[in-house]
């Protein structure tokens, strides 16, 4: 099961406060009705239980068309940064070909999937990002990652001058909210969507000079 500290919100009134919304009588009534609606509208199905609707701080603060207050955003980012698990033995890299396969797959964590074991999940990267030039079917919700390593001057992933971009990329994959509080990108490591081995493979896909991404 998930070992994530959740800010369990009894009513959802707290969410509105965090998000910096007005908390007048009307809005509190609506919040209570919204909470009741969500509770009555959903049911458990397979691995997708209703506890998934409980929000943590980042989710609650980013559930509005308005961004959270700057101090809330800072707090989310700081807390997210503190969750980052750096790779065991300082081993940041794996296999870019395995990474490409992960980037292609959008499978995992839905009610029709049998398990929440990350090793069965895809990374969904192409759903939102351009990555290698060979794949013409890519999404645009996130920025293009074509030439990700090359554009950042990575000629040798092990070289000391590569360290900042290597660490940044790992932390972005592990918990995107460490850098942008309301990022659209899932928190792959933090939420147990991908395991360390898989994240290493994605690191290679993005940064390895031999990866098709950097050709």
């Amino acid at each position: 099961m998930m070992q994530i500290t959740r800010v369990v919100l009894a009513g959802l009134a707290a969410a509105a406060v965090v998000a910096g919304c007005a908390s007048g009588g009307m809005s509190q009534d609506l919040d209570a009705e919204f909470a009741a609606m969500m509770k009555s509208s959903f049911r458990d199905e397979g691995i997708a239980k209703t506890d998934r609707l409980q929000q943590d701080l980042a989710q609650a603060a980013c559930s509005s068309p308005k961004p959270p207050a700057p101090e809330v955003a800072k707090r989310i980012e700081a807390e997210a940064m503190a969750t980052i698990k750096w790779p065991t033995g300082g081993q940041y890299f794996g296999n870019w070909a395995a990474g490409e396969k992960l980037a292609q797959s959008g499978v995992g964590m839905a009610w029709n999937n049998e398990t929440t074991d990350p090793s069965t999940n895809g990374g969904q990267c192409y759903n939102c990002h351009e990555i290698s030039k060979q794949e013409i079917s890519f999404g645009t919700i996130g920025p293009s990652l074509y030439h990700y390593g090359k554009n950042r001057g990575v000629k040798d992933v092990a070289a000391p001058e590569s360290a900042p971009v290597v660490q940044y990329t790992w932390s972005k994959l592990w918990n995107s909210k460490a850098h942008v509080a309301c990022s659209n990108m899932p928190r792959f490591g933090h939420m147990h969507l991908l395991n360390e081995t898989q994240i290493r493979d994605l690191m290679s896909l993005l940064l390895d000079p031999r990866s098709p991404v950097n050709q």
Binding site: Y126, N127, I136, S137
Partner: protein, 152 residues
């Protein structure tokens, strides 16, 4: 104007009439060429259909998309500008079985047919014409099949 209601009302009655008149295709008449539909490439499919070695030509046209948003439905059309077309066929090179459809051309129809096929992956597709003089002509094009949606 022909309405859907007409279609519904007529279809049941018509089925009865045609069945009694022996106009429905029946198993006895079955000309379904199993060997052709089980062939793994164009040459074997043509052999099973009694056709000669094919020649590429501009007189056969194959219409299809360059990119298919989904391989489950790929619109293809085949036509032949020459007289004396006996049969038109659609084939997909990289499908498990190459042959997709065979149309027998009569004097009463134009040698011009459109349908939609499934494609397991990006592949060349062929329109093949068997002529009354025994010649076999074909046209080809590549159709790229893309992955779409969230993929979950």
């Amino acid at each position: 104007m022909y309405t859907r209601r007409d279609a519904l009302a007529r279809s049941a009655a018509v089925a009865g009439i045609m069945a009694s008149a022996g106009l429905l295709p029946t198993a006895a008449q079955a000309a379904w060429n199993q060997a052709a539909f089980e062939a793994k490439n164009m040459a074997d499919a043509l052999k099973a259909l009694g056709g000669a070695a094919p020649t590429e030509t501009k007189d056969v046209t194959l219409t299809g998309p360059d990119i298919a948003e989904n391989g489950a439905v790929v619109p293809l059309a085949c036509a032949c500008a020459l007289p004396g077309v006996k049969r038109l066929m659609l084939m997909v090179e990289k499908n498990p079985n190459t042959l997709a459809a065979v149309f027998d051309v009569s004097d009463a129809v134009e040698p011009n047919f459109a349908t939609r096929v499934k494609m397991g992956q990006s592949s060349n597709v062929f329109a093949v014409a068997m002529m009354s003089d025994g010649k076999v002509l074909f046209a080809q094009k590549e159709v790229k099949v893309t992955l779409g949606g969230c993929g979950g």
